[in-house]
């Protein structure tokens, strides 16, 4: 019989009225890579956070090495050899890499932290797995790939035997992801057991020994990799077959509608400062901006839409200079914008569906009467949009805070599409929404293109960029590292450009130390 190192049975977890996990079942064998997959909101991350003791379970049982663990906390989880690399790195930016690694488990000499001993211990792990990290740098000075390695080293030094990786590849290029898979393989050969959370089926098929599928908080089953296929997994994940490859409308680009010329703007990190980017967008085409998160895409979008000061260069829309105008003025000139973070900029979660739907047209004559809002026409238009964009719930008076990610995003899309414009800036339009909503949002964007609107599409999802765009611009560290026509684009050459193109020896590829 194979030994189960982790057994989770009939787990229940509610957050208020939300049933995050309804029937959670999961077991992990020693020395296997076990993938946990499902759509956004399926409960996979929650399951693993429960195993790591970040929330108490509302029902069910968790056993590690056959021993029942009650009142689990991260501390107890760590003591039982469980380590987790979170989707958002749990690193304190203003502390050094070394301080972060030893946090909570500091070796001490008297009352003082023994940094020399700590350095020695940590270096041993770094060398054993050939993971290059700079111990003295502060975390905000290192790259995403390196931060992820720091996280892995951190849990290894804490004696982790079970390693949970929560969507680790979301922030990596395909090439960096391959290096991560090598590390995972090394860890497995070393006897560690790995839980790999993902919703990318091709990755899952590549790395797993077994796969557990969850849907809407329910356990759908566990299969061996040899006995399944991507399409079968997709069916288990969403309950029906989906066709994300929608047919691309042929582009018939017209005049140049928007021109970005030698744009420079500030950035929160050194690598996200935009330094001299130029490109054009023509009417009726989709220009895709690809890049790894944090390479200046967000800053570029903010500069174009008037949310961040342009330090040098210009943006023209429809022949008019809109450089550093206020967002309101820019919108009046015909730009609409789906912001990348709907909760921060896209929506007011304390207001109702109708208020959010018509926020950008509040000054429209149709919706106001002198200084008052015209409730009848606002309600009528809201109902139209709710029907047209299939927003649920359908009551326009519903508070936004009770909506799911997908429906909330549809409201942002509905508002921007219904506002008349000639350029749509769509930043991460399908981030964090379910597959059904992804399909409909993508086809809406296609329709806009057919209507002759110029579209800038920013996405971290290469599959999305390739399936929607006509031309692709790749951004790396605030510069354009390449422009490709979609005919010639594939995940490999885009991935290479996302890492800066030529100089591949620098970032992320430090992992190659493994082969040396």
């Amino acid at each position: 019989m194979v030994e189960n190192i982790v057994e989770m049975e009939n787990i229940i977890k509610n957050f208020g009225l939300v049933h995050a996990v309804k029937t959670g079942n999961f077991n992990l064998r020693k020395g296997e890579i076990h993938s946990l997959i499902g759509e956004n909101g399926a409960g996979k991350s929650t399951m693993m956070k429960l195993l790591y003791g970040m929330y108490p379970i509302d029902g069910g049982s968790i056993k590690v090495r056959g021993q029942l663990l009650e009142n689990l906390t991260p501390k107890i989880a760590i003591e039982n050899g469980i380590g987790m690399v979170h989707q958002e790195f749990m690193l304190v930016e203003n502390l050094t890499v070394l301080e972060n690694i030893i946090l909570g488990f500091e070796p001490t000499k008297g009352s003082v932290i023994d940094f020399d001993l700590a350095r020695k211990t940590v270096t041993k792990f770094i060398e054993q797995y050939g993971m290059n990290v700079q111990l003295n740098k502060k975390v905000h000075q290192i790259s995403v790939g390196e931060a992820q390695r720091v996280e892995i080293i951190k849990i290894l030094t804490r004696g982790a035997e079970v390693i949970i990786l929560d969507e680790p590849t979301a922030v990596l290029t395909p090439q960096e992801a391959d290096r991560l898979f090598e590390i995972m393989e090394n860890l497995k050969n070393d006897g560690k057991s790995i839980i790999f959370i993902s919703h990318k089926l091709n990755e899952v098929m590549k790395v797993s020994d077994r796969i557990t599928v969850m849907r809407h908080g329910d356990y759908m089953g566990t299969v061996k990799k040899e006995d399944t296929s991507p399409s079968e997994l997709a069916k288990m994940m969403i309950g029906r077959e989906v066709f994300l490859d929608l047919k691309k409308e042929k582009a018939t680009p017209g005049e140049v509608i928007c021109q970005v010329k030698d744009l420079w703007t500030s950035g929160n990190k050194e690598t996200s400062k935009v330094r001299g980017i130029s490109f054009d967008v023509r009417a009726g085409e989709i220009v895709g901006l690809a890049g790894i998160d944090g390479n200046g895409q967000s800053e570029l979008v903010e500069a174009i839409t008037g949310l961040r000061k342009i330090e040098k260069g210009s943006v023209t829309l429809d022949g008019k200079d809109i450089t550093n105008l206020s967002p309101k003025k820019i919108r009046e000139n015909g730009m609409t914008h789906i912001p990348e973070d709907r909760n921060l900029r896209g929506l007011n979660r304390q207001l109702t569906i109708k208020d959010n739907l018509l926020a950008s047209r509040i000054d429209d004559k149709k919706f106001k009467h002198h200084f008052l809002r015209k409730d009848s026409s606002i309600l009528e238009e809201s109902n139209n949009l709710i029907g047209e964009f299939d927003i649920r719930p359908t009551d326009p008076e519903t508070l936004l805070s009770s909506l799911s990610g997908g429906n909330a995003q549809k409201i942002v899309v509905a508002r921007e599409i219904s506002t008349v414009g000639n350029l749509l800036v769509a930043a991460q339009p399908t981030r964090g929404v379910d597959i059904g909503a992804i399909e409909s949002i993508r086809s809406i964007i296609q329709e806009q293109k057919k209507k002759g609107i110029g579209i800038i599409l920013i996405s971290a999802d290469l599959e999305e960029i390739i399936s929607l765009s006509d031309r692709i611009i790749v951004i790396h560290e605030g510069h354009i590292s390449g422009k490709i026509d979609v005919k010639d684009a594939n995940e490999e050459n885009l991935g290479l450009l996302m890492m800066g193109g030529k100089d591949t020896s620098r970032e992320g590829l430090n992992l190659e130390g493994l082969n040396e």
């Binding site: 790591y52 970040m54 906390t73 991260p74 501390k75 760590i78 987790m84 979170h86 958002e88 749990m90 690193l91 304190v92 930016e93 203003n94 502390l95 301080e99 972060n100 946090l103 909570g104 488990f105 500091e106 001490t108 009352s111 003082v112 932290i113 420079w264 703007t265 500030s266 950035g267 929160n268 050194e270 400062k273 935009v274 330094r275 330090e311 040098k312 605030g478």
Partner: protein
Amino acid sequence: MDLSSILNASLIYATFRSATPIIYAALCASLTQQADILNIGTEGIMLTGAFAAVAISYTTGSWVLAIIVAMLAGLLMAAIMAVANIKYGADICAIGMGINMFAIAITKFLMTSVFGMRGTFSNPDIVAIPRVVIPGLESIPFLNEVFNGWALTEWFVIVFIVLMWFLLFKTKWGLHLRSVGQYPMAAQTAGINVTSMKYQAILISGLIGGLAGAHLSLGYSRLFTENMTNNRGFMGVAAMFFGNAHPVWTSVGCLVFGLTDSIGARLQAYGIAAQLVLMLPYIVTIVVLSISMVSKYYTKKRRQSSLLLIR
């Protein structure tokens, strides 16, 4: 106006003397700030400590006991803040201001009801914190003027600043505290009990605030008056912002306040309007805070700019 009678050797001690109560208050605020909790209640904690110290010193005649009870009184006030903020989610500024107003009222009430005094409580039976006389120093005029006759708690504050620095940046507890303040989730996943760390920060800060009060009423003076902290707690909070909650830089901020306070007192002798002089520390507070905020803003902007290469 004779400049040398304003800027002379005794100004050094005068500056340090008026800065010390603020330094204690600022360290009280710094400790919680490291855990990302703004301790607006510093003023009230300090005032309670000042009253408790005088009351105990008067009734028992022991300044040691007085300091201990003052610290416990500070702890009690801080405990109210901690429970309200951490357990019941009350806004820290609201509860802090509540503590400040409560402290003014309760000290006034106890002074009239227990000691039958109004306004100022001063009595020869109140035992002050002893002053340190260094033998042999009398013969050296300059050093004698600067260093002799400091209250014990004035010497101790120097040790205390170093101690705080050591605690925050060299010990395990300090690393845990800072990680809780900067990224509580990261601390939690490292197995650190965030709630417990926050309680500890507020409670220890209460002890320091109580000590600040005891020094004010028994070291800096030997009496208690209504609202005697007179915004020193807030000046401590301002200095904490100035020094970014780093014990050393925060104390430097306090010395600036102390300097204006003592120069102001001397200017008064030259017929400069008393009201104007009394405004000085507050004007300096505003100026210092504005300068530190503006410089932080520009540093951040410069750091983010794409036109400058910082390597």
